[in-house]
Symmetry: C2
Subunit: 150 residues, 2 copies
Amino acid sequence: MPLPQTEIPGRLQAYFSERGIRMTQQRRAILQVMETASKHLDAAQILRKAKKIDPSVDRSTVYRTLKLLKRNGLIDELDLMHIHGEGHYYERKVNRDHIHMACLRCGKIMEFVSDIFENLKQQVEKDCRFKIMVSRLEIGGYCTACRAQQ
Amino acid sequence: MPLPQTEIPGRLQAYFSERGIRMTQQRRAILQVMETASKHLDAAQILRKAKKIDPSVDRSTVYRTLKLLKRNGLIDELDLMHIHGEGHYYERKVNRDHIHMACLRCGKIMEFVSDIFENLKQQVEKDCRFKIMVSRLEIGGYCTACRAQQ
DNA sequence: ACGCTTATTGCAATCCGTCGCATCTAGCAC
DNA sequence: GTGCTAGATGCGACGGATTGCAATAAGCGT
């Protein structure tokens, strides 16, 4: 029983079919959630939102799809230093890697883009002769507001 | 029923008693495991090794102790880019932060220390006015040997 | 449009990590 | 050494994430 086909960017369709990955209704629903998410969803939130689009989506399909997307570099997985428990968070991969900073006191998440980070990765690739596919820098500490109140 | 008291470094004894953290038999067993581990144990391995020293050690005590040690900056928690599944790994904290690189093909874990990493952290502290307490840079990619064989 | 093949799914069982609570014990005072 | 008390433990129960397997459906050839 076909559901209304939700709009998925052509680049993803192409990426999938090139390597024989099937575009199922469930994946389409999950992808739509990831594409339209403002930020940092955890698996439970993704499941809930995906079920609204296609109620048949199962928990295990969400986890399997997230793993697939992660393996293919289409999303990033974060744990935000486990400030809010052990869960993991997911966000669409953007062109430039960014650093995540989590305030250990107020829980706020900040992002930061840095040329030095790019330099560091280049150094690793060169000095270790290591081809970087994915990288993640997460920092825990205290934000400006919380430092003042300590 | 007292077990043979295993040797725990004085610095840890001092650190604990200063802040009213009790040195129990179970913690002593777990600490001994961490101190003598060559590297990167996961929770199940720590439990198994600790049980050999003190069979009464329970799973939840291991998790609680790891959390305690992490909170106090005595160990680092890694996920090594989830190459071997979702589990977490633990290692004794050493003075200088190091980068972990995980080969996505052979699974080998490499470490790297870099001044640029230190510079990057300084930049974050300055530009974001953020006090860093803990940081973790993990990289997934392909090591020299595996690059050659692709 | 129809069938075929195999990737993908849903379900149930399982595993891993956490939590509440009653019990125990480390560390201190005497 | 003995007793006291709060911190720590073990146990059982729970929720989140994973996995094996039979059933389903995507995508291709015709």
